[in-house]
């Protein structure tokens, strides 16, 4: 069953087109990602689905309903984790969860009975009566996710869930989200971190400048738009571009970045051996598997994080 159906969605702000005619759908229990750089139109799309923004044209159905016609009913199905934390800083952790449940109209006793479970999920049980102000960035994010779960949403929407967090906090958060995924919660995630998309998404859509560049599972996309491996070589910033011509013929494809050259191939080690045999000696070299970053580079000619 498709929980979200989007057809020819367009969103304009004045004469700027943020979303330019995109189509996609999300199934129940699926973890769907919108991957793209800042300004790709991800957040605009999320806000339209979240029934807090009006589209310029196109069709959107969330659980069979139009968010513009049935905003409050649709929002009752959603758990929203916005890009910027908007926890209630005047309240404690427990009070934040409690009052959010009350916003949905849940009875006091129902919400109170849920608090410990949610706090435990967010690994914040020991912070139950602490003011939100005193929490770290990662804790705030986890509390925001717990808050979004208070209404037992059918769809959890996460806008850049780990942006700005340190690596350890990110891994804890991914672990929490993975548990939700296992429990069958439908996740809609935007991110500009390809590792996050690879970790969390069953299927994703690569967006750039308001349009969909590609869609599929992370492995499908890598298979389709990149090679199995990548050889990264550096010759120093002055020489990198001089080497492009010489190396072009060795690889299936070559991308030139300011600090390094990327050579796409099925076997990085073999390629490196061939280059060295041709008496070309890079300052450093690295063989790695292709990632979504490479997919994005191929599709747009730019890196995700600029």
């Amino acid at each position: 069953m498709d929980l979200i159906v989007v057809k020819n969605l367009v969103k304009q702000f004045g004469d700027f087109t943020a979303v330019n005619g995109i189509n996609f759908s999300v199934k129940q229990g699926e973890s769907f990602g919108l991957l793209g750089p800042n300004g790709a139109g991800k957040s605009s799309t999320m806000r339209i689905i979240g029934a807090t923004s009006q589209r310029t044209s196109g069709e959107v159905l969330i659980l069979g309903k139009d968010p513009e016609q049935a905003g409050p009913q649709i929002r009752a199905h959603l758990g929203v984790v916005p890009q910027q934390d908007n926890l209630d800083e005047e309240l404690t952790c427990a009070e934040n969860l409690y009052i959010y449940g009350r916003y949905f109209g849940l009875p006091k006793i129902t919400v109170k009975n849920k608090l410990d479970e949610l706090l435990e999920f967010a690994q914040l049980l020991d912070k139950k009566n602490s003011k939100v102000k005193s929490l770290s960035g990662g804790m705030k994010r986890r509390l925001t996710i717990a808050r979004a779960l208070v209404s037992d949403p059918d769809i959890l929407m996460l806008d850049e869930p780990t942006t700005g967090l340190d690596p350890q906090a990110r891994h804890i958060l991914w672990d929490r989200l993975f548990r939700l995924k296992e429990k069958g919660v439908t996740l809609l995630i935007t991110t500009h971190h390809m590792d996050e998309a690879e970790q969390l998404c069953d299927r994703l859509m690569v967006m750039d400048k308001g349009e969909i560049m590609a869609e599929g599972s992370p492995t499908e996309l890598i298979k389709k738009y990149s090679t199995k491996e990548v050889l990264e070589v550096r010759f120093g910033s002055d020489r990198n571009s001089q080497m492009v011509e010489q190396l072009q013929s060795f690889a299936d494809r070559l991308e030139e970045l300011p600090d390094r050259l990327l050579l796409y191939t099925e076997s990085g080690e073999d390629l490196l051996a061939k280059i060295v045999a041709a008496n070309i000696h890079p300052n450093t070299s690295l063989v790695r598997r292709s990632s979504l970053e490479d997919v994005f580079l191929r599709l747009t000619g730019r890196s995700l994080i600029e």
Binding site: T52, A70, D88, G105, K131, S151, D154
Partner: protein
């Protein structure tokens, strides 16, 4: 798929008129304010209550002994303290309402992003507007009750009609809170917010709390009579002195219009801000 409680609650409201803007749950916004109040700083709350009492003591009894008695509109002669007490009660209802509906609202709107969170749930903008105004109104009510509790035993509220000064104070607080939140929702910077404080001071000083309007030339009286605090003071002063006539209805109507206009623009503005 299992239907969650949140969804069935929202579905029950779905066919009501204006369901997109109002879920019928403004009381949860008030509940939030009460939860926040529990652990917040009580100093501003208490100072808002004390302020009119300080004015009452210093002007009513200090300046009052120099001034002597004052003749009011129906020819009645009252002590100066008795003259200014209703004016201070009206002002205190105004201040209580303005405190919550302007700076507090501004902070939640721009700094805390509290309304963003609220409006991502099944609440509508009118729930938020009404709930915040309700909070402000309760503060106005509490100040009015507190003031009456001090002023009545002092013999400053001579008429039994004075009991109605409390609901009148609630009406006044509602009007000021409603307009205060509407104006705040359009303001984008602290400088603009400062305008509210700057304009409240002359309104407080010239609306007839401390002396009858007849001291001013006609043109100035006409200007003052358009201001909300003048209507508030007249309403409460007439009630507490037992001067009952049709002009009271005019003052009440003034505040009813303020309430409706304020709610209309607040809801419209919140919609524009959060449903772009």
């Amino acid at each position: 798929m299992l239907i969650s409680a949140a969804v069935s609650i929202a579905e029950r409201q779905a066919n009501r008129m204006g369901a997109k803007h109002y879920a019928g749950r403004s009381h949860v916004i008030l509940e939030r304010s009460l939860v926040a109040l529990k652990s917040s700083n009580w100093f501003p709350v208490v100072s808002g209550f004390l302020e009119p009492l300080l004015y009452l003591f210093s002007f009513g009894y200090g300046v009052g002994t120099l001034i002597g008695d004052i003749q009011v509109s129906n020819g009645q002669v009252v002590s100066y303290a008795m003259f200014i007490a209703p004016g201070l009660l009206a002002t205190s209802a105004m201040n209580g309402a303005i405190y919550d509906s302007t700076w507090n609202v501004y902070f939640k709107l721009h700094e805390g992003k509290i309304y963003h969170g609220m409006l991502a749930t099944s609440l509508g903008p009118l729930d938020v507007a009404l709930g915040e105004i309700l909070t402000a109104l309760i503060r106005g009510f509490a100040y009015a009750v507190g003031f009456m509790a001090v002023a009545t035993p002092m013999g400053l509220i001579p008429s039994w009609w004075g009991v109605l000064a409390i609901p009148a104070a609630v009406l006044i607080a509602f009007g000021f809170a409603s307009i205060g939140m509407a104006i705040t929702s359009y303001f984008k910077s602290y400088q603009q917010m400062g305008l509210i404080n700057i304009s409240l001071l002359p309104i407080f000083l010239f609306s007839g709390s401390f002396y009858p309007l007849s001291v001013f030339p006609d043109w100035a009286q006409i200007i003052i009579k358009t201001l909300p605090l003048w209507h508030a003071i007249e309403l409460i002063r007439n009630l507490s002195l037992g001067i009952i006539n049709f002009s009271l209805l005019g003052h009440i109507a003034y505040f009813l219009v303020m309430i409706v206009v304020g709610l209309f623009f607040t809801t419209r503005r919140l919609n524009a801000l959060f449903m772009r």
